[in-house]
Symmetry: D2
Amino acid sequence: MPEFNEGLKKDYFGPAGRSSHREDTVIEINEVKVGGSDLAIIAGPCSVESREQILNIADEIKDTGACILRGGAFKPRTSPYNFQGLGEEGLRYLSEAGRASGLPVISEITGICQIDLFGDIDIIQVGARNMQNFELLKEVGRLGKPVLIKRGFSNTLRELLFAADYVMNEGNPNVILCERGIRTFETYTRNTLDLSAVPVLKKLTHLPVIVDPSHATGRSEFVEPMALAAVAAGADGIMIEVHDDPVHSVTDGRQAIDPEAFMRLVSRARAVRAALKEE
Amino acid sequence: MPEFNEGLKKDYFGPAGRSSHREDTVIEINEVKVGGSDLAIIAGPCSVESREQILNIADEIKDTGACILRGGAFKPRTSPYNFQGLGEEGLRYLSEAGRASGLPVISEITGICQIDLFGDIDIIQVGARNMQNFELLKEVGRLGKPVLIKRGFSNTLRELLFAADYVMNEGNPNVILCERGIRTFETYTRNTLDLSAVPVLKKLTHLPVIVDPSHATGRSEFVEPMALAAVAAGADGIMIEVHDDPVHSVTDGRQAIDPEAFMRLVSRARAVRAALKEE
Amino acid sequence: MPEFNEGLKKDYFGPAGRSSHREDTVIEINEVKVGGSDLAIIAGPCSVESREQILNIADEIKDTGACILRGGAFKPRTSPYNFQGLGEEGLRYLSEAGRASGLPVISEITGICQIDLFGDIDIIQVGARNMQNFELLKEVGRLGKPVLIKRGFSNTLRELLFAADYVMNEGNPNVILCERGIRTFETYTRNTLDLSAVPVLKKLTHLPVIVDPSHATGRSEFVEPMALAAVAAGADGIMIEVHDDPVHSVTDGRQAIDPEAFMRLVSRARAVRAALKEE
Amino acid sequence: MPEFNEGLKKDYFGPAGRSSHREDTVIEINEVKVGGSDLAIIAGPCSVESREQILNIADEIKDTGACILRGGAFKPRTSPYNFQGLGEEGLRYLSEAGRASGLPVISEITGICQIDLFGDIDIIQVGARNMQNFELLKEVGRLGKPVLIKRGFSNTLRELLFAADYVMNEGNPNVILCERGIRTFETYTRNTLDLSAVPVLKKLTHLPVIVDPSHATGRSEFVEPMALAAVAAGADGIMIEVHDDPVHSVTDGRQAIDPEAFMRLVSRARAVRAALKEE
């Protein structure tokens, strides 16, 4: 067995660390809370594809119990030859869908120059590929809006906390951390969802921790079991890709679930959460 | 995003594969079942340290709800300078504790030459380091007893199924698969528990799938959340290191939990399982 | 053995691919060539620490055979609590040292907003953490200057080629690729230098490929053997951290070598290159 | 950048460690030396396929400069459905080819029960999958013959040294270590050849260190550059798969090179070695 790693002995001492703030941070966006006793359920399509699409999905997931609407407008695509998102137009449709449904909205930013376009977006997402784009982290830190940081697919948890500190040191305490899978040798799933990150982070930091099983597994049939596992491990929320027509999704269709499957997932996720509260 | 891996398109076609056996395999050891509707809970110390120790622990965990007693006698130690287990004597104490408590027992075999000593052991464990010790797999396949195979810490799920086939091809259909963490760059936990293995394996194979969160995390405080996550992900069972005095455990003490923590874990694990059945 | 990966069957078809440009690209900066028959040797300190420091080092390495001077001014630091570089002032000192020594200079850019400050810098480096900062790649693509892209520490070679295409698609053909180590479970070295990347890239792309053994190993005593190995594997150049006083280096001192060790390294690297040409 | 790992601070103190034996160990097999000033070149087919095949290849590689003949008889195959080797018959043909050509021979053992069959084999190889098969290590340690241990594809260098100690503690000082690639996320090559292992091991241990680029890359076109890189990094030898008809090789044909390519490789490897000696 490998010799025991001493990592955990060292507490984390920056503003993201437990020693800076004993109580769990609860982030409020309108009436929605991330962190604390509620389970935050973020859902929506990978990409905003059209005004009609995002309005429809917002309607469907709201009824099912989502509390935050996600939708990508600026897509950081590995290949320059893939669909890059609707950009500014996508953000407009997303915020319209948010207002219509009453759900706060979240979208990913991929460059500082886009910041002015995010005025109507409630939570700014920094994606896995930009987790160590320190200039971007500092800039979104200055905005004062909640920021969700996804763990880079080969970043340690300590590095994720440093990323949070880059934001917090600009005066913004509203940071949400998100585990979304790391790179390993295993190829049955797109990435390896590192659920141990949940209890480790809950020990090291007071910030809310959510899990994205859709990007981690890359396959719709594994989204529900891994979402349930995330809740059982103690996650404060889950982020799920929902599409009204997954087969025709422009991006990442194989990992999206439809509204019906989403309804089942939410009901089961809440049952797990409730069972653990009672015990 | 990395391009989608085609792994899952290929079903697995050996005797371990779903196509060979549509129904889930349920393995019966005395009155205990692994697979099917019950949650199998395997518990006990990393190593059998003395007759008294294993008898005591067996008593305590039985009352709490464990259904199989584990205890190592031949320890595969990375370092030749560490405690190597009590060997034959350890197996004797373990089987005595099993008879006294009425629990079936499981212990790890590390070489073919030990096979005769395992006559009173109900389930033979092939550890992660021997998952590709093909001569050993074939030999235990000939015994006819249930065999639990732990995934090597850098083996793919496909390789784990091949290992199962090495056993099954000798005429032994009673194989249990166990996820126990893989090696990655992250060092806060000893290994990275790959819980996606659970739904992936449940799709590919009819064999029971259990999870060992103790070896995976290497830290007692993370054992319960990861055990609960395993159950929520659909595992057929969990394998937990329990020690009556973890601080003085001869091997792997930092990951063992005490009987009281184990009782809480079992109760919560069953609550999760029950919640998912109802929904 | 894992089943053979079909990756290489697929050629790479973007502008960075061999099929777009059969001959090896040679990039000329003043009289220095990267690619082709010469071995490009880039050297200098991790960070520009003072005007005097960079002037001194430039002098020393020039005599020893370096052809390009490196020096960081904007340092992408994992921890916000570490030295972040001299910024604009650092770039000024670096370009002064370049002019004084006659060596072209290279420095890392970490955000689009810095672009105007790089007017006197001959080669712009995009670091490992920004390899998938697509907005930055596009922006430096528009500059027309040579760009060196370091492979992200968990990016595949295919993703590195996509990053090159993000630059080339803006009309800039002068891209240099740099292998600098990937993340694995092994911890004796800071990262694992993936030297296979050299022959694989030379097969897939016409762009020059260089290797940075300093950041990969993180230890001065391993820099020379890995630099020699890189040359033997067919690299077009090497990038070496040289400091006149490694022990007092502000950043990454443990991996810097002193000018004397650098002289020996250069002489041996050239001997390897020459030996392979003759055979 | 990840915080520096303290691994190297700890010297390795077992019999494999430098502190136990200051001078480099040189292992003599007949008149061949592994370790010291000569470059040991081990070559031959992945599997012994027939008497004629191994006799032919032995002849060809001997003329080209190989000093040890390899050939697998007991093949540890991930899949039980692949060719498993000629077994005892294969060992007989191999030792006949060794006597005919005057080359010492090496072959892999996969189980203790085979030990009696290895009487005429000069060097016993323990493969990557058995690096932590401690019972096997101890048993071959008792034989007194030279043992070559391949690093497991996810084992640390420290674990490799522990494996050596398992052999040495039985009274056998003649251990050769072999780096053959580790598992990472990169899939262009079968494994990632970790050449940093060479200088790290040369620092930690007095045992000879050789490199197998054939299994590491899994592709014949990358074998030569990585073999040259291994020599430049300071390896004491290389192990190369040579087949007289790679396309029709029964196992691993895509990584085997033909005798002509092997001749070129040997000539260039010796040129690199010579160049480094002179400098």
